[in-house]
């Protein structure tokens, strides 16, 4: 039945279809790039920039070149920043390039406090390092070295290490066995009651939307992971609680974009305590008590 080819201009459906689509396109371009930018020169809120006229200028504004570049050289307070760490591909590559065997030698400096093979020592405010992400260890050592994170002993230790040493020791600790989960109530006062357990569980897996508290699990795992955010499950509860308190008060401020300071400052001391205990137990979102 077809008297013409599918794309013949003699086929009236194709021809008029093409004309219709083309006219819509022309109309859209004329309105979006020529007419609206002209109309919008009339101030809507009174403080609009004086925009230059002309059809070419209108067209550029439609494309996003509005000429509204704010001078960035305005007066600024003295710079304060969280860390020197910039996660460029080169940095990530260096941090992941560690030599495990050499790292074991470097780690002789660490066992006195962090325990044999990073399994945790006697002091519960000192973290276990076994299985910790390599980027985490690398970044924390860099921050101790630059002074963005303060802890006397660690600042001294880190200053003696090169970047390659940091990558090596990170590779060593990352390769060690997962430390056992901490199921007890160590350092817990008050104890982790069912209600507090449920509150902590909710914070870890859901966050608190009413206080803009993001869920721990969405950066620290297992839901999702952010670059250089450590695993928390199985960590010493006293260490976790203490770090939350330090973030809340700004004693620790080496989170790149204030992620942890923003969250911790919304938490009560009781919640920090419960979070530390809950995370140490490594419980999942549906573990009931």
């Amino acid at each position: 039945m077809r008297r013409h080819g599918l794309f013949s201009i003699h086929n009236p459906w194709k021809f008029w279809g093409a004309v219709l689509v083309a006219s819509m396109l022309v109309m859209g371009i004329a309105i979006g790039f020529l007419w609206l930018p002209q109309v919008q020169e009339r101030p809507v809120f009174g403080d609009r920039l004086k925009k230059p006229g002309g059809w070419f200028a209108s067209f550029c504004r439609g494309l996003g070149w509005t000429g509204d570049a704010q001078a960035t050289a305005t007066a600024a307070p003295p710079a304060r920043w969280a860390s020197d760490m910039q996660w460029t591909p080169d940095t990530v590559h260096l941090a992941l390039s560690g030599d495990r065997a050499r790292g074991e030698f470097v780690a002789l400096n660490c066992t006195a406090c962090h325990g044999e093979k990073g399994q945790g020592g006697q002091q519960t405010w000192i973290p276990k390092l076994a299985r910790m992400d390599r980027l985490v260890i690398y970044k924390q050592l860099a921050d101790y070295r630059s002074g963005h994170r303060q802890w006397g002993v660690m600042n001294a230790v880190a200053m003696a290490l090169s970047e390659q040493d940091s990558a090596d020791v990170a590779a060593y600790f990352n390769s060690q066995a997962q430390p056992p989960l901490q199921l007890g109530q160590e350092g817990s006062n008050p104890p982790l009651t069912d209600a507090r357990f449920k509150d902590a569980q909710k914070l870890v897996y859901n966050g608190d939307p009413l206080r803009h508290v993001a869920a721990c699990a969405t950066c620290h795992g297992p839901s999702a992971r952010m670059t250089a955010a450590p695993d928390l499950q199985g960590q010493h509860p006293a260490y976790l609680t203490r770090q939350l308190g330090d973030f809340a008060q700004g004693h620790r401020a080496n989170d790149l974009h204030l992620q942890m300071r923003a969250i911790a400052s919304q938490l009560s001391p009781d919640e920090m305590n419960a979070l530390g205990l809950f995370l140490a137990q490594g419980k999942g979102p549906r573990d009931a008590r």
Binding site: W65, P77, A79, D84, G207, P209, H212, V213, A215, A262
Partner: protein, 206 residues
């Protein structure tokens, strides 16, 4: 040629074929082609109508609500956006007054918070928002106002506005940015002019 004669589109016992194609009946459905053409034309009108409605909506929002391509195209390296020398270094975030009385608000969006989480601006004062993202696409929307833009990593979004009334406004992230997207929002606190300290040096941030 040995090709068989092309088969007739109609079996011999079909109704006689019409003289013009417009009156021919569709073989399978038995619908006259004129009816099909009429229906097709109506649907074309519907599509044109949808297109014109969308266009009219855009024109209306552009002219009467002030929607426009919000930003001058400016790029920034998100990896070093928080380093000294960058406009979005930690100590420079928040509201600051310029010499001309304009208030500039610099916002850094990241998974999953805005920095600062409370933005203080004076009422009835020209305000410039400058925002960028440290990781993924976020959204900046201040409820009850026409402030609404995407925050795209690698770009600086600029918005000009003026708050007509005092009070607290919710500023949720409105681009899905990850599993804690629902926890990401900030508060915009519009205060009387007298409560926003005038700072001719432009160095203070609120």
């Amino acid at each position: 040629m040995n090709n068989p004669p092309s088969p007739s589109p109609h079996a011999p016992d079909d109704p006689p074929r019409s003289a013009t194609p417009g009156e021919a009946a569709d073989k399978e459905l038995g619908i006259p082609e004129a009816v099909i053409v009429r229906e097709e034309n109506r649907w074309v009108l519907v599509v044109v109508g949808v297109f014109l409605t969308i266009l009219a909506t855009i024109v209306f929002s552009a002219v009467h609500i002030g929607a426009e391509p919000p930003s001058n195209v400016e790029t920034i390296n998100p990896v070093s956006a928080n380093q000294p020398g960058s406009e979005f270094v930690e100590s420079n975030l928040g509201s600051g007054m310029q010499a001309d009385g304009t208030v500039v608000v610099r916002v850094l969006a990241q998974q999953y918070a805005f920095v600062p989480s409370v933005i203080t601006v004076p009422v009835d004062t020209p305000v410039v928002f400058r925002a960028t993202s440290a990781d993924v696409v976020h959204g900046l929307l201040i409820m009850g106002t026409n402030v609404n833009t995407m925050i795209v990593p690698g770009y600086v979004a600029t918005l000009r506005t003026r708050f007509a009334k005092t009070g607290d406004f919710l500023m949720p992230c409105h681009e899905f940015c990850g599993p804690s997207h629902h926890d990401m929002w900030a508060r915009v606190r519009v205060v009387p002019k007298a409560e926003f300290p005038f700072d001719p040096s432009g160095e203070r941030r609120f």
